[in-house]
């Protein structure tokens, strides 16, 4: 049985449907992520799991038991808030002790558990500090410790890394993965940052307008997005209008107007004549000098329109003869080299026949 089961949950605010008939089941020990743009319903869903809000219809079951009548203080589910929500009038130790006190643990047990929790988040010497005396990253760790100290069945994390700067964020991501692994607590993480979701999760549910667009493992979400929304929301992707010419079990043949035939991996349910887009990630596209020979089937000429240098890699935007543009990514492996091509350069782009994906309209 799944640890948490969300069954056909709907939540409306007036005319606005925040969560629209969503069903998810989350297994014990999982690091599960709800990913989506702001307003997609992920926060509403999280608040219903926590017990701050109730579904208009549908059920939320924990260990198979409907939680509709269980107020949030009775649910073995704790939350790490985006703002950390540390109690400003209590010391770090008292903050961490709070859930233990509420659970009626003895003071000896509280003391040792708090010490343990402080050690776990490497804040052993900060027990007597007040939250306002801590840095953002330290507050974050106190919030994790407080959420985990009473071993909840489920820990909900509401964009907990949103307020941190990029470097600290990466450190905390690694820390989070380790914490989850060590404690064995099931995490439900919500974020709008796709790279964070990919890095942390066992499974991701991509949400949009109250619906789940795709629920899968990170690599499948990235590699095999189910529709245009998912493809566009997760990572970078180029999309070129195409029509299906041939649908074989081994591959698809697509016709791109003004460009020619493109071979793409086969996909279930695609029929000859379907229109849609051929989507391909920048790192799958090879960019080379105009005249260079290639063995790749999908091979087109184009012109560099512009490029984006971000240090480790440079993304080139190449205009194809039919006016569409495609992005190609090239690592800057040669030191001190920002670019291999200039804007306006004639180039060739190519990709493997099993790269890219056809997405129906």
């Amino acid at each position: 049985m799944a640890l948490l089961e969300i069954r056909n949950v709907t939540r409306r605010f007036g005319d606005f449907i925040a969560v629209d008939n969503v069903s998810i089941s989350i297994e014990a020990g999982e690091f599960f992520t709800l990913l989506g743009p702001s307003g997609c319903g992920k926060t509403t869903l999280l608040r219903m799991i926590a017990g701050f809000d109730l579904p208009d219809s549908g059920q939320i079951l924990l260990d198979g038991k409907d939680m509709v009548d269980t107020p949030s203080e009775k649910r073995p589910i704790h939350t790490v808030f985006q703002s950390y929500a540390l109690f400003p009038h209590m010391t770090v130790a008292d903050n961490i002790a709070f859930p233990l006190r509420m659970a009626g643990k003895t003071s000896d047990e509280i003391k040792s558990r708090v010490r343990e929790a402080l050690d776990d988040v490497r804040l052993s010497n900060f027990g007597n500090r007040f939250p306002e005396e801590l840095s953002g990253g330290q507050k974050q760790r106190v919030a994790f410790a407080r959420g985990l100290v009473n071993r909840p069945r489920l820990l909900l994390l509401d964009e907990p890394l949103g307020a941190l700067d990029a470097k600290l964020r990466e450190e905390m991501q690694i820390e989070l993965i380790n914490l989850q692994k060590d404690m064995g607590v099931t995490f439900v993480f919500i974020t709008h940052a796709q790279n964070e979701a990919l890095a942390l999760s066992h499974r991701i549910a991509v949400m949009n307008q109250g619906n789940i667009e795709q629920l899968d493992e990170p690599s499948r979400i990235y590699g095999f997005p189910r529709n245009r929304f998912v493809a566009d929301f997760i990572g970078k992707i180029s999309m070129i209008n195409a029509q299906v010419l041939e649908a074989a079990p081994s591959h698809l043949k697509l016709m791109v107007a003004g460009l020619g035939e493109v071979t793409a991996p086969s996909k279930e349910g695609v029929r000859v004549g379907d229109t849609g887009v051929m989507a391909i990630r920048p790192e799958q596209v090879r960019i080379s000098h105009h005249a260079e020979e290639t063995e790749l089937k999908n091979h087109f000429l184009g012109k560099v329109q512009g490029f984006l240098y971000v240090g480790d890699v440079t993304t080139y935007i190449v205009e194809l003869p039919n006016g569409a543009s495609i992005e190609a990514l090239l690592p800057n492996s040669a030191p001190g080299r920002a670019k291999f091509f200039e804007a306006g350069d004639p180039v060739a782009v190519s990709w493997r026949h099993d790269a890219g994906i056809f997405l129906n309209d």
Partner: protein, 260 residues
């Protein structure tokens, strides 16, 4: 110094002089060794001595203190509840109901309360009626201060408390109350100072018999402005000022930092 600066300082000095010279005069003349408030003769504490031998004045002071303490006590509890309710339930009419007495002309409130006590409640006017009246107009002030405190706070700490296993009552006792405590204390002090020197509403709602400080002072002035009035005014000023200073300290420094 720049010209505009000088003028600015000058204007400021003028405003403060206008505000504070009358008060300074009252204080200075309370130590004047003369029956007249006309010229400085010499330093004396005799007016204070006279004040403490004035039985009626002492009774008035005692009555006023009883009223101020009781009214601010009731107003603090009710006003805190009102502030919490206004903040939580976001009802449009609730703030209007609670804050209106603050803006209402005192004379109107006085008349209204008088009629209410006599004709609706059939109450004999006295200490109780004054306490109720003072509580009425103080509630709004407490509610305003408490709500302001709540508005500046991160809402999620209350949810966090519930989330971590605290019942609604535990959340109030362990989180909400400690966090709004500075505002509650500030509201209580504010109520006290408003109550102890209130004249208009007290005048309307007092009975015959027990003297009340502001009314007593007024009665004394009707005869002549004696330095004894200066002395009691100075003492009252000192008390009020102390309260205000404590309240403002709570409001600015402690309010921002939490209740540490």
């Amino acid at each position: 110094m720049r010209r505009s600066n000088i003028w600015l300082w000058f204007a400021a000095a003028l405003v403060y002089a206008f505000l504070y010279i009358p008060l300074v005069i009252v204080v200075v003349y309370s130590f004047n060794d003369s029956k007249l408030n006309a010229e400085w003769v010499g330093f004396t504490l005799s007016w204070y001595k006279a004040l403490f031998n004035n039985h009626e004045m002492l009774t008035a002071a005692r009555n006023s203190l009883i009223i101020a303490v009781s009214a601010s006590f009731c107003a603090t509890i009710l006003g805190t509840m009102a502030g919490l309710a206004i903040h939580r339930y976001k009802l449009k009419f609730l703030p209007v109901l609670v804050f209106t007495p603050v803006a209402m002309p005192e004379i109107l409130l006085g008349v209204a309360l008088l009629l209410f006590f006599l004709q609706v409640l059939n109450l004999t006017l006295g200490m109780i009626s004054i306490i109720i009246a003072h509580t009425t107009f103080c509630i709004g002030f407490v509610a305003i201060i408490v709500r302001a405190r709540l508005q500046g706070m991160d809402e999620s700490v209350f949810e966090a408390a519930r989330d971590l296993g605290a019942s609604p009552w535990q959340t109030f006792r362990l989180i909400t109350l400690p966090l709004i405590m500075p505002a509650v204390v500030a509201g209580a002090l504010m109520s006290f100072t408003l109550s102890i020197d209130d004249f208009v509403i007290t005048f309307f709602t007092k009975g015959v018999g027990e003297p009340i400080l502001p009314i007593q002072i007024y009665t004394m002035i009707k005869v002549a402005v004696t330095p004894e009035v200066n002395a009691i005014s100075t003492l009252l000023m000192l008390l009020t000022l102390t309260m205000i200073i404590i309240a403002s300290k709570l409001d600015s420094s402690v309010l921002r930092r939490g209740t540490k």
